[in-house]
Symmetry: C2
Subunit: 155 residues, 2 copies
């Protein structure tokens, strides 16, 4: 079973989003071993300039990154796929990687140096609320799994 | 104040999505007069082929469309914008239209003939769950309003 880790910055403090996250984590657990890991906010984040903040977030994220894992950053400027292409892309990647790490950055996005270490995917050209995007990513992972499995979830 | 109507097919039966919808409807009510209207599912929808189903949904939606309104269909194949472009696009449209109607189709999308009557916008190339997309659209409308107003919600 593929091991999937989703790393994000800060707690999910919207209760309704939490319910959505739990729903899709449970649905996904049929297909993958999945964990959503909320890393703590950087201390005094609002006193740091965005570049410094992203660098501190990057060094925290770095600790969880293992060399053999597929590393995917959620980034507005990343590659775009439709849901079927995304499912195929993941299926192809699973041939070389038994662990997938998805990284959702903080409110200023992801450190440029860190971005070079993996693939970048855009769920949309639009900026999504970075709490909601956790549930959106999980739904899109679940959709990819069901497309691969040929169930009727995705028309 | 701009009047915004969001038309969608079927009840929001995910309670967590309902909470998100209520949150953003409330936030948006500072900027626009907004209503989300859930039209009933077509009867025996699962016995109809997708084209027939979309045609029936279209004739139901048609009753709410007024000639002078800005008509925007949420469609995966529609135009894509980033959040700032989307905000500007809406601002420009507001010069000619004091009423905006957004239409979220059913699970097979929107009837091709109906689509010709308005603009089509894609929130993403990916197919989103058509319950969640209601909250995602509202958050994106709220983001557009805050960009226009110059508040700090959108970085």
């Amino acid at each position: 079973m593929i091991q999937v880790q989703i790393l994000c910055i800060g707690k999910t403090n919207e209760d309704w989003v939490k319910v959505g996250i739990e729903k899709y984590l449970k649905l996904l657990s049929k297909y993958v071993k999945i964990e959503l890991k909320e890393l703590p906010d950087v201390k005094n984040a609002n006193k740091l300039n965005p570049e410094k903040l992203k660098a501190e977030e990057a060094s925290m994220l770095q600790q969880y990154i293992t060399e053999k894992a597929l590393l995917v950053f959620l980034d507005e400027h990343g590659d775009t796929f439709n849901s079927v292409e995304w499912s195929k892309w993941l299926t192809k990647k699973s041939l070389d990687h038994s662990k997938w790490i998805f990284i959702i950055g903080g409110s200023y996005g992801i450190d440029a140096e860190l971005l070079k270490k993996g693939s970048s995917v855009a769920l949309s050209a639009m900026t999504f609320n970075h709490q909601m995007v956790r549930a959106i990513l999980l739904e899109q992972l679940f959709r990819a799994m069901t497309i691969q499995a040929g169930t009727s979830y995705h028309h």
